[in-house]
């Protein structure tokens, strides 16, 4: 596409990476050549880049689509998802997911961002329910402050939980902070 057609929130492919145009500034002396100053945000790692284009320059538009996907299972460092609309399977790598792997359990529904047909990222629910697979006992102290201990969840993620949490309990986890919210059910 022509640089003239780029606006705020246009998605671009630049240097092989997908970017969102966070800000576009148009500078033009009356008789001079137009300058386009863009602030780009990387759609994969959120890093930013300031770059200047001139009139006549061409840029590549990135077509990003959203699709609901269900996480099925992990194979090596590939996370396999199923498109809930057409049941086709695709994968996204552990590196692309980053810390989101801590909250993915089989069957979770997510929104996947696709660049052309290629998965680039997922949006996970704000809250997920994960069960405790292993936790020790809290070290007793003389204080009355709330006691915490660590617990390993079914995804392999380890977090701090209150002392009363037991193996088999299902916990509500805030994926934005990665922290314990509440106990949803306990093993009888």
């Amino acid at each position: 596409m022509e640089i003239e057609e780029v606006h705020k929130n246009t998605k671009l492919l630049y240097q092989g990476k997908p970017w969102n145009v966070d800000n576009a500034e148009f500078v033009k002396p009356g008789k001079g050549r137009a300058i386009y100053r863009l602030r780009l945000k990387n759609l994969l790692d959120a890093s930013t880049l300031d770059i200047t284009f001139h009139s006549g320059d061409k840029v590549e538009e990135a077509s990003i689509t959203n699709q609901e996907m269900q996480y099925l299972y992990k194979e090596g460092d590939h996370y396999i998802f199923m498109n809930t609309a057409n049941f086709e399977q695709t994968f996204i790598t552990e590196a692309q997911l980053g810390e989101k792997i801590n909250f993915l359990k089989e069957g979770t529904l997510v929104t996947m961002q696709l660049l052309d047909e290629r998965p680039i990222d997922i949006t996970i629910p704000t809250f997920v329910e994960l069960s405790v697979v292993e936790t020790g006992t809290a070290i007793k102290t003389a204080t009355v402050t709330a006691q915490t201990k660590s617990a390993r969840l079914e995804t392999g993620y380890t977090i701090d939980v209150p002392a009363f949490i037991k193996e088999g309990d299902v916990l509500k986890i805030d994926t934005r902070t990665g922290s314990y919210v509440e106990r949803l059910s306990t093993k009888k």
């Binding site: 003239e4 500034e25 148009f26 500078v27 033009k28 002396p29 009356g30 008789k31 001079g32 050549r33 137009a34 300058i35 200047t52 001139h54 009139s55 006549g56």
Partner: protein, 308 residues
Amino acid sequence: MPAEGERLAQLKNNLKRRAQVYDLAREFFRGRGFLEVETPVRVPAIAPEINIVPVESEGWYLTTSPELHMKRLLAAGYSQIFQISHCFRKGERGRLHNPEFSLLEWYRSQANYMDMMSDTEQLLTMLTRKLRMGSIIHYQGHEIDLRLPWPRLDVRQAFLKTVGWDPVEYYDARRFDNDMATEILPGLPFERPAVLMDYPAPAASLARLKPGNPLVAERAEVFIGGLELANAYSELTDRAEQTRRFAAEIEQIEREQGRKIPMPESFIEAVGNMPESGGIALGMERLVMLLCDAASIDEVTAFTVDNI
């Protein structure tokens, strides 16, 4: 209130001031013996300029400036004329641009580019006095001292001082435009207007070359508060030279951009009959922005291309 009603209600003070500025500008020129003229907005040919892309209209163009027709009037003996007209420039949209905007242009015979700058100084002085703003105005958190005379800066000296190269000796259009936009203009002091004068001859456009120094053109621009306000020329009245420049520009536009632009023949016919004269184009929205302390053209335009 619906979103549009609310938006327009917020613009009311600025739009009222805009109307005052138009009235006062007309009063200024009539008081000095200028005749207000009207020239066509839809025209068969425009001045060929590589960095100004016209909007096409059934094989003709929406005018990018009333310059050519006003000069035809000048050539016919109308010695002092002014006009406020809508102009169109394709793709120009930003904080300071809307593809449809208004230019105030005035021309007078037996005058040169610096006389046009003096007119501009007098116009601003009259406007701020009548609007009871005083000679020191507030714009975007800064004080701007509009007292006369405004500082004049030689383009060559400004380049040598700021970016360390001489655009008059070694002209490079891309480098010149880029350094002007990114280094020279942002570096101008905010607290005073600045008149940049004597542009490199290849950036002359429709200006005559300086008598005694053909390396520079008698072109001047005034900047106030970071706004490019007006562009003035000592007008080129040499038909052969004007034809040669336009032909070169038309050839370059086709070669670099693939755009075919016709030679404005009727204007060329008139150039040889033009008296020695000065002319200037001033962006009305920019002027109103300055006098309304508005950061964006959207604050002084009821309907921009984005909410048309």
